[in-house]
Symmetry: C2
Subunit: 212 residues, 2 copies
DNA sequence: CGCTTAATGGCAGATGGTGCCAATAAATGT
DNA sequence: ACATTTATTGGCACCATCTGCCATTAAGCG
């Protein structure tokens, strides 16, 4: 009865906090992305990234299983932002209207630098196949999260076919819109660009409804 | 004026035909997939695949840029089959109805072995991340082809936002349906399973229209 | 059979990535 | 202060992935 949350009279050095680890990954991620953009993925070695971030190559490979997954921390920020918005989607509102309401505050929350970096990565994924593959894998993970939210809203199991189709379609729309905004924001991202992004999504969702 | 199709009084050994090359790739692909399924991707080395197919490791790497791209020839068969159907989609018919008409004959055309192999690969992509990434990349290439067809139908440029959204959404639907049929056909594929697949797609497309 | 060109195979080498172990860092107990 | 315990780090050896280079072989043609 005493092990509801198993007792842990911890003894040695405690593991670093998840927060700390996240920061470290993000730091490595920034260096990696900068180098990727400057000289290409293929021409950037793991050793180089490690050196730029001031850790040994060995620990670098402990933080990232593959070179391309260096983009993950940055991109995750983006998809998580979207998941937060979707999760807050009130039942009585149209998705488009909810986006208009909830998206702007979210943009204020993220730092301009991060937004710029994320868009840079998305642009990179077009020339660099390895990065594109990593990007698509990440989007599929996001799709699962989206499916969870949609399932809860609809009161259906998360692997119901309707739920998965809707999640996949929404995710696909978001992908197109994101690629588009990244392309059009090639030099400098403005508030107008981002609001354009929101409208892009809205228009795309509207377009979906005309499909059949 | 004499170089409309540059004159080629060919001299030495002629390059192998594209057909021949395609066959070779497909053969390597089959061996690779079998090994992947038997012992996992990570545990299967390029040397092993080459040996199984009876070529040197060096030439194996000439046929495939990465180990995971061994699944490409098989999967391409699948997406090309779908593209053919879409291309033949008459303007006056609903897509669902067209699928019902055109899909069955197509199933007869492909060999049972190949269909089985394709589904096996799709199943593999769920446990093997590297394969999943390759799969998603291929699907995106197929999405482009789909966009071309849709653009022509709609009389819009191929990079119009509506076209790309529609292509992305259709592709996403097809992905869900394909994953589902692969899972449900885990042991032995029957004609019922495949017709189920077609209905799966139809239902999914119908579901899409209810999205908003 | 010589000539020309394409495909192949073998070998060296750089990079990606992992397992193992010693060294160090951060906590607690005495 | 010091020993003890545990987590992280770095160094090293090692296998796999993939490429460049060159010699060899194969396939056509006069």
């Amino acid at each position: 009865m005493t092990d509801v949350v198993t007792e842990k009279p911890r003894r040695g050095r405690p593991p670093v906090s998840d927060e700390q680890r996240r920061r470290q990954r993000l730091d490595l991620s920034r260096h990696a992305v900068r180098l990727f953009a400057e000289q290409g993925v293929a021409a950037t070695s793991g050793e180089q990234i490690a050196q730029a971030a001031g850790v040994s190559e060995r620990t670098f490979w402990r933080y990232f299983p593959h070179k391309e997954s260096c983009v993950e921390p940055l991109l995750t920020k983006m998809v998580e932002a979207f998941c937060v918005v979707v999760r807050a989607w009130p039942r009585e509102l149209e998705l488009i209207d909810h986006l208009r309401e909830a998206y702007s505050p979210l943009l204020d929350a993220a730092s301009d630098e991060d937004i710029e970096a994320v868009l840079a990565v998305v642009r990179l994924t077009h020339g660099e196949q390895a990065l594109r593959a990593a990007y698509l894998m990440l989007r599929e993970r996001a799709e699962d999260a989206l499916a969870d939210v949609l399932a809860e809203r609809a009161g259906l199991p998360r692997d119901a076919i309707e739920v998965r189709v809707q999640a996949a379609a929404m995710s696909a729309v978001l992908k197109v819109a994101t690629d588009d905004v990244a392309r059009s924001a090639a030099d400098g991202v403005t508030r107008e660009t981002l609001e354009g992004h929101r409208e892009q999504i809205a228009a795309a969702l509207r377009g979906l409804s005309q499909m059949l």
